[in-house]
């Protein structure tokens, strides 16, 4: 088990202020915050795409992790070949079978031989999830994966994320969609100007935010409430 991930006084430039956090296996963690609060950067630090300016990050053991970005990046080859590529980079032999399985899982088997870059936005995001699924990651980071999708495509993505959760993958996801947070989260980490101000179970966070900033954020995002 690679989790828990321990972050000790981790900062990044002026974007993330010294943060001490432990990410444990199990509950789906949603990172909430306004644009520019540092959600994406915090996840990139966790995933290892960015190196902290100070502080330490420690995984408990080596293991597989994957990340799905807001805008999926597909290689100029077929959908299937994109998944095969990910498996081969990860050192999986005979990648073809598992890649096809992953495409079936996200409902893209019928598009396996289509060039990936001409798929629709929702299909490309599902393909990005298939690429992650094939790797059987212990941890899956998602950076606003539905932000540029229409509601029905977003629902499909959410149901795949639930399947990851059901398969035992730890979900760490940034979003500013409250409905999505409520549907998918077990716990919320609330970021404000680079500081982690709150960490609470999802219902507690939305019904009784502990800080004035979080209360204002929730109110601002839900003008009808």
């Amino acid at each position: 088990m690679m989790l828990p991930l321990r972050m000790e006084a981790v900062s990044f430039l002026h974007v993330i202020q010294p943060t001490t956090l432990e990410i444990v296996a199990g509950p789906s963690t949603i990172i909430l915050g306004a644009n520019g609060a540092g959600k994406s950067v915090l996840m990139r630090l966790m995933h290892g795409l960015l190196q902290p300016s100070s502080g330490t990050m420690a995984w408990t053991a080596k293991g597989r992790q994957a990340m799905v970005f807001q805008r999926p990046v597909m290689l100029r080859r077929s959908a299937l070949a994109n998944v095969v590529y990910a498996l081969e980079v990860a050192g999986v032999p005979d990648a073809h079978g598992p890649a096809m399985e992953a495409l079936k899982e996200v409902g893209l088997a019928h598009l396996a031989h289509r060039p990936a870059r001409i798929l629709s936005g929702g299909e490309q995001q599902r393909l990005a999830l298939a690429r992650a699924w094939a790797l059987h990651p212990e941890v899956l980071f998602l950076d606003e994966p539905t932000a540029s999708l229409d509601p029905s495509a977003a629902r499909e993505i959410e149901s795949i994320i639930r399947a990851f959760d059901a398969a035992g993958t730890k979900i760490v996801m940034a979003t500013h969609n409250f409905g999505q947070a409520r549907r998918l989260a077990d716990e919320v980490i609330y970021l404000h100007q680079g500081w982690v101000l709150e960490r609470a179970p999802v219902e507690a966070f939305f019904s009784k935010p502990a800080t004035a900033e979080a209360a204002a954020f929730i109110k601002g995002e839900l003008p009808w409430a």
């Binding site: 795409l49 994957a66 990340m67 990046v73 590529y85 980079v89 990860a90 060039p115 870059r117 001409i118």
Partner: protein, 222 residues
Amino acid sequence: MLSIFGDVRLWEIVILSLQVSLSAVALATALGLPLGAAVAVGRFPGRRALVVLLNALMGLPPVVVGLMVYLLLSRAGPLGPLGLLFTPAAMVIAQTVLITPIIAALARQAIEDAWREYEEQLRSLGAGRMSAAMTLVWDTRFSLLTAVLAGLGRASAEVGAVMIVGGNIDGVTRVMTTTIALETSKGDLPLALGLGVVLIAIVLALNAAAMLVKEAAQRRYG
């Protein structure tokens, strides 16, 4: 005038020109693509200076390249003992020097743009820099084709370098451009014009082909 296209001399000159320029393009591609990819993806001291240098070298004057290669290959030069001066091989060397920076610089640009788009995704998947570079070369293959053709266009159209190192020897190192220069000054305009037409047709055909390939690829692969 049209009878010039029945002239065997003309076609021998065309064939030698293509042999020289295509050989130079093959060599320059073998050198320039890896160089461009390394500069695009690599992180090493002097990288920015190298980018500037490559871009600047795209505009190398052919006569200067000819002169440098001439000095290298001349009897007193460091490569003099090879006896290559005034042979087609010398012309291939000169054109390779001329167009390697062009292919490298254009490849660097295409691969670096792709790297900017792909970097996070490829690093997230765990690809090292070397394997990322290979992936990018394959993914930008249609843009790289344009870079290679730009090199071929430059090679087949230049006079200065092949004139100096080839010597424009009849039947040995006389290519389209040097023949046009010579025959024009001698007043033999039909041969000069005929070669000019062939040269332009080749360049046009190459660029049309490149555009068709790129458009087809765009439709096919996005």
